[in-house]
């Protein structure tokens, strides 16, 4: 289950962060998302020489915490997407698929002429779309 998704801007500032848990651990998730930015920085600054991740937006598993797995995605405009999930067995394809759809939603949200680039995303439509994508995570390939 996805517990948190986040969009992080150029100055590593949160543009959108939403958690999907019943438990009140949103603050912990904020910490996890914030810490994962270190890994994103490291991945971006020292790309593996022969890795397949070169020039790819999907950054893969960033780091496992005690109960969560954190995945990252970097758009061409250097906006970071972070996904925190509690699933122990996550298929890469699912995550990639999720990020692809999430990216599309993000692009639609920032294409709004009333959105100022670099500011938080407050669009309700975007929030709804994200929660739909989150709910369907892991189902698309199964079904």
């Amino acid at each position: 289950m996805i517990v948190c998704v986040a969009v992080v801007g150029h100055q590593n500032n949160p543009l959108y962060i939403q958690s999907f848990t019943e438990a009140d651990d949103a603050l912990k998730l904020h910490h996890i998302v914030h810490c994962s930015l270190d890994v994103v920085d490291e991945r971006v600054n020292n790309p593996k020489k022969s890795g397949p991740t070169l020039n790819e937006t999907f950054l893969g598993l960033l780091y496992p915490t005690e109960n969560y797995k954190v995945y990252g995605y970097l758009t061409n405009t250097k906006v970071k997407f972070i996904l925190v999930t509690t699933d122990l067995d996550v298929r890469d394809a699912d995550v990639r698929n999720f990020f692809r759809r999430f990216h599309a939603a993000y692009v639609d949200a920032v294409s709004n002429p009333f959105h100022v680039p670099g500011k938080k995303i407050t669009s309700r439509t975007f929030a709804e779309r994200v929660s739909t994508i989150v709910k369907s995570f892991g189902l698309s390939t199964a079904g």
Binding site: P14, D24, H31, E42, E66, G118, K119
Partner: protein
């Protein structure tokens, strides 16, 4: 890791024993210990101690079917094999014992028998060492040795002769030991392996299976067979995993504890082996599996804390292992850690990650332990029974020690008893310090990796622990560092939490200022209950509560209460109630980098960028606050760098305080109808302002008074260069501008320039016309006061090259230029031509080549002061003269109030007199100059002069200026150096009695005669000196008063040589038609040689001629040949004489007298001359056209 027993932590070391010959033991043990791999030695002084190694007494009889084991691993088994059971026993016999008398031999034999009896059941290997000296090596009889060997039933290679004095003997002995030890461990391993394979033991006993696997692995480790050790540890581990849920031997809690303890040991061994083998990725994967398989085995609810403690220890131990082998890990980032299905991240190979998780689980342990403690306390049956609980013989088991007289008995525990024991044990530890230590390790490790966010997170957890145990001094700097990062990156909710802790720290410390700062910042944070943030109800949110708009308002109200002095701050430290009072006022500073800019932002803009002094302009003051509630300011004080301009704005809605009114007496006070700041809404105030001081007028700060004793000083910012509000810039808000006028919002500055007052003093430069090179050009300067009195006036003079650059060019390195400056400021003379020395010494006067500074005396209104600048040109060059006058119009004003007047004038520098010269040879006398024959025409060779001939030098000076000049004198000055006497010239020094007036373009000529007396290729002719002056129109200024200028020019060198032949034409000065006259051509040979000369005379139209036309003659040395012609002129006027041409055979050079030399004037009839006395002047001067 330190809590593990030593034998587990270090790899096993082979143990052997030596007995007999005790004097050799230390040598042997030292050598064996230094072997690679090392061998530990158990030294027994004599054979009686050998019984230590004897096996259990029941060993001889075959044991009855063993009872099911009551544990997995025996606690002391490993230690036993490390320290007590040797693999090899070496019996040392001295040579004497063997070769001596039969009694000794018998004793040897009995020792051997005893050894055999004891060692056989344990399979310990025996080595016999016969100690010999170098002198009795050969004494030992062969059959004695054989007997010995047979007695011991040993292979011959295990009976060793040891020569004490032979160094290689030690090595041989060492290798024998190593070989035998290896053999022993292999045999033992094999024996147990066989048991495993054949399942000879009770196959249902998993415990034995695990134990045997462990033993095989340990034996393999003794042999350094890491691969096998790893395999069997792995087997043991996996078998152990199967035990969970199947074993029923112990009560549930203790069973799990035992399994976990054994698993921990096995895991430790496996990880160590993997990491020592450099297999980091495998180790990490292994740890992950270990973690995955045990993490969920929480066990009984009352013993959860044991699980968390255990799990925390797993992470800690693995972190320490990783840390230890970090050298191998250095290059781990380059390792491709991704395995087939489960990708590993680089973080998992870093110790910091494990330290952090160890701390995390320890925190879990603490919370569950507290729960367990509270439960047990309610039961309140902590009795002393826990004290007698000791670890039992098996790893991971505990038992109660019962004293029964002298004997001790171990009694197994129930789970309740065990839990009580564990809680009693747990109380001895202070988890918080442990957690802080773990986090600190992680923090430092992450800091080395420069991952600041992880560092911050660890720091945050550390600080929280410090906070929890009340160490606010430790917590505060950590929190502050973290808050900075969150501020920078705009993580508002995280910042809120950290600030909440900081606020509480300040409250507990009783630091009012910090408390207010943190509270204000929190209140101004962009936290809202909008769509982006959920209604946070964190279960572990900070002391400030959840971040929400309501909470911000609560904080703001608290701050307002404190500021107004109504409420106080309850401090824990001093247990006093702090209040902001008159004795204890509070002042906050907000600069452009302060986080409190959110609270109050002051933007100041002048409406004009330049203002005249005393002219008023408008200034707009804009204030912005992000505080959630409306703030009312009591008064605003606006401060400028010119303190006279400061003013205060009072709030009309508040009654003015009496005290402030007195304080600000004499200051400007404005009143504004309302000074209320609403959230995110600019409060704009516009006032007019004027300054009478020139220079920069800048608004420095705005001080807002919020309560009776609370002020905020806000540094003023220009709207043009104002940064966005931190944190709020990411919010989706409407951008507002501080100024109503958008142009002002983009360009407005907090500073303006106040211009200087207009000068009321006139500065005149009265020079006219061009200046001439060499003369001292006078530029009169007049300072006329038109309305201002001049105090402490200062005149600055600057000469600047018009074409840019300096007034000198380093390229022209001619020595003739007297110094580097082509134009020079010579001096400044005061009014009435007063001398420089007459000027007061106190007056400033500084003159340099191109710069001058002179002080101007005090001038009243309407007064005039003048001086003269004297400038000299060394080169023709236009120059810009800048004169600036700085003065103060009032005597008592500071220097800042200076008024400046600037004037400039371009002055051309020109050459006044152009000097040229010309050298003429004597009339009708032509020397054959060899150098001129050879020379190429038009070359720059110096002119040649014949030796000892009289030549004429004409020097002319031309007026190239635009004004008439007086020529005072012209002379030729010889350089008396070197060639003195080589050339004589009549020296003329006399000045002209009547100075010649030269109009522009006119030329003055003077004739000199030159007789060269020395044969020199370079003869200096000397320097022409021309003294001249400007011709002034008005008569009273006679030429003497006008400064005369001396212009000099060095004449080029000439070449003097002896002509071999000199041809002179001799004819009368004039002729008359029809009247014959004689024309003589004299050819003089000046050489010592006979000269063959060819000559020819061409016919001329106007003359009838007699004499030879062509001939070749020989001229004798130092003699003269004369050709005689008779001519009759046929026409009158200027007539060309027949052209005479001469060719010298010797020099193969011909020459012809010039045309001018061979003309004559023919009169039609005999003229009548009136003979007058002509003044015999050798030199005549004439003014030619």
């Amino acid at each position: 890791m330190e809590e593990y027993p030593e034998e587990l932590r270090t790899p096993p070391v082979t143990l052997i024993s030596v007995v007999g010959c005790p004097d050799l033991h230390s040598t042997l043990s030292k050598h064996l210990h230094s072997e690679q791999p090392p061998i530990n030695t158990l030294a027994l002084p004599d054979f009686s101690k050998i019984s230590l190694f004897s096996a259990k007494p029941d060993s001889p009889s075959p044991p009855p079917p063993p009872p099911p084991p009551s544990g997995i691993l025996k606690r002391d088994w490993l230690l036993k094999h490390r320290t007590r059971i040797p693999s090899v026993v070496a019996a040392l016999f001295s040579h004497d014992h063997l070769s001596g008398d039969p009694a000794q031999w018998l004793q040897v034999c009995s020792h051997i028998d005893q050894l055999k009896a004891i060692l056989r059941p344990r399979n310990i290997k025996l080595l016999l060492v016969v100690v010999v000296d170098s002198d009795n090596v050969d004494d030992l009889s062969e059959d004695r040795m054989l007997a010995l060997r047979k007695r011991a039933e040993l292979d011959s290679k295990y009976v060793v002769l040891f020569n004490q004095n032979d160094s290689s003997a030690l090595h041989r002995l060492g290798s024998a030991f190593a070989e035998l030890a290896n053999l022993y461990y292999r045999d033992e391993g094999r024996r147990i392996k066989l048991r495993l394979e054949k399942k000879t033991f009770n196959s249902s006993s998993i415990e034995l299976n695990i134990r045997y696997c462990f033993k095989v692995a340990v034996y393999a480790e003794f042999r350094r067979d890491w691969a096998e050790a790893l395999r069997f540890y792995d087997d043991a581990y996996h078998t152990l995993r199967q035990m969970i849920g199947t074993s029923k031997r112990l009560p549930a809690i203790q069973r799990l504890v035992e399994i976990k303890t054994v698993a921990e040991q096995l895991h430790f061994k496996i990880s160590t082996l993997l990491l020592h083998g450099g297999k980091v990725a495998e180790a990490v994967t292994w740890f992950r599996q270990h973690n995955a398989s045990y993490r969920r085995l929480i066990g009984a609810p009352e013993a959860i804390f044991l699980h968390w403690e255990w799990l925390s220890r797993q992470f800690l131990v693995f972190a320490e292992l990783l840390d230890k082998s970090s050298a191998a890990i250095k290059n781990v980032s380059s390792l491709v850690l991704a395995t087939a299905d489960k990708a590993l991240t680089e973080w998992e190979s870093r110790p910091a990650y494990y330290y952090q998780l160890a701390a995390h689980y320890l925190k879990e342990k603490r919370s569950s332990f507290e729960l367990a403690l509270s439960m047990s306390e309610t039961a309140n049956e902590i009795d002393n029974s826990a004290e007698s609980v000791v670890p039992s013989t098996y790893v991971g088991q505990f038992a109660r020690l019962l004293e029964q007289g002298d004997a001790f008995a171990l009694q197994s525990l129930t789970d309740e008893e065990y839990i009580r024991f564990a809680i009693a044990e747990g109380k001895r530890f202070q988890d918080s310090f442990e957690i802080i230590a773990l986090l600190k390790k992680s923090y430092e490790s992450y800091s080395d990796l420069k991952v600041q966010r992880m560092v911050s997170f660890c720091g945050f957890q550390m600080a929280r622990e410090h906070y929890a145990v009340g160490e606010f001094d430790n917590a505060k700097p950590l929190f502050e560092g973290i808050a900075n990062l969150y501020r920078q990156e705009g993580w508002v909710t995280l910042l809120w939490e950290v600030l909440g802790y900081l606020q509480e720290c300040a409250r507990k410390h009783g630091v009012m200022k910090d408390f207010l700062e943190y509270s204000l910042e929190m209140a101004a944070l962009p936290v809202s209950t909008g769509t982006d943030t959920q209604s946070f109800r964190f279960k572990d949110c900070g002391p400030a509560g959840p971040a929400s708009l309501a909470q911000r308002e609560v904080i703001h109200k608290e701050v307002l209460g404190l500021v107004s002095g109504e409420s106080g701050l309850a401090s824990v430290k001093n247990s006093t109630n702090l209040k902001i009072t008159g004795d204890n006022p509070l002042h906050l500073e907000i600069d452009p980098v302060s986080p409190l800019r959110l609270v109050l932002l002051a933007s100041v803009a002048f409406h004009e960028q330049m203002i005249k002094p005393n002219a008023s302009t408008l200034i707009t003051l804009s204030l912005l606050s992000q505080l959630p509630l409306t703030v009312e300011i009591e008064q605003l004080e606006v401060q400028f760098n010119q303190s006279d301009c400061n003013f205060t704005i009072m709030n009309a809605q508040r009654p003015p305080l009496a005290a402030t009114a007195e304080d600000k007496e004499g200051r400007r006070v404005e009143t504004s109808p309302s000074l209320t700041l609403s959230t995110n809404k600019w409060l704009r105030l516009t006032y007019d302002i004027k300054s009478d001081q020139s220079g920069k007028l800048e608004c420095t700060s705005v001080i807002a008074k919020m309560g009776p004793h609370f002020t905020i000083c806000c540094r003023a910012e220009s709207p043009a260069s104002m940064d966005d509000l931190p944190l709020w810039k990411f919010e989706d808000l409407v951008e507002t501008s501080p100024m109503k006028d958008p142009a002002l919002a983009f360009t407005g500055q907090k500073a303006t320039q106040v211009e200087e007052p207009d000068p009321q003093v006139d500065l005149n430069l009265g020079a006219s016309g061009p200046a001439f090179v060499g003369e001292s050009f006078i530029v009169p300067v007049n300072v006329i006061s038109m309305g201002h009195a001049v105090y402490s006036g200062e005149l600055k003079i600057n000469l600047v090259d018009v074409r840019g650059g300096g007034l000198f060019s380093p390229r022209e390195t001619e020595p003739s230029s007297m110094d580097s400056h082509h134009v020079e400021l010579l001096g400044i003379s005061g009014p009435e031509g007063e001398d420089e020395t007459q000027l007061g010494t106190d007056e400033i006067k500084k003159i340099q080549k191109s710069f001058g500074l002179v002080s101007v005396p005090f001038l009243k209104c309407g007064e005039l002061w003048s001086c003269k600048l004297e400038i000299k040109w060394h080169r023709p060059k236009p120059v810009m003269l800048y004169v600036s006058l700085g003065y103060t119009p009032h005597s008592n004003e500071s220097t800042a109030h200076k008024v400046n007047v600037h004037k400039s004038l371009q002055i051309e520098g020109k050459t006044a007199v152009v000097i040229s010269h010309q050298i003429k040879l004597p009339f009708r006398r032509d020397p054959l100059l060899l150098s001129s024959i050879k020379s190429v025409p038009d070359s720059d060779q110096p002119a040649s002069l014949p030796l000892s001939e009289k030549s004429i030098l004409i020097v002319s000076a031309k007026n190239s200026a635009e004004v008439p000049l007086h020529l005072l004198s012209m002379s030729l000055e010889l350089d008396n150096e070197g060639v003195g006497g080589s050339c004589s010239m009549p020296h003329e020094h006399e000045t002209l009695l009547d100075p010649a007036l030269l109009v522009p373009g006119e030329e003055f000529k003077k004739v000199f005669t030159v007789i060269s007396e020395a044969n020199s290729s370079k003869l200096k002719l000397g320097t022409v000196c021309v003294r001249w002056g400007r011709h002034s129109v008005n008569e009273e200024q006679s030429s003497s008063t006008v400064a005369s200028v001396l212009t000099t020019q060095t004449l080029p060198d000439v070449n003097v040589e002896l002509p071999p032949l000199v041809v002179s034409l001799d004819c009368p000065p004039y002729a008359i038609i029809g009247d014959p006259f004689t024309f003589l051509v004299k050819i003089r040979n000046q050489t010592q040689l006979l000269q063959e000369v060819k000559f020819s005379l061409a016919d001329a139209q106007s003359f009838v001629l007699s004499g030879s036309h062509n001939d070749t003659v020989f001229v004798l040395p130092k003699s003269e040949h004369i050709l005689n012609y008779k001519l009759v002129p046929l026409a009158s006027g200027i007539q060309q004489l027949p052209r005479f041409t001469l060719t010298s055979e010797r020099y193969s050079a011909g020459f012809q007298p010039s045309v001018a030399a061979s003309t004559i004037f023919v009169f039609p009839s005999k003229p009548h001359f009136k003979v007058a006395d002509v003044e015999d002047k050798r030199m005549e001067s004439l003014v030619a056209e």
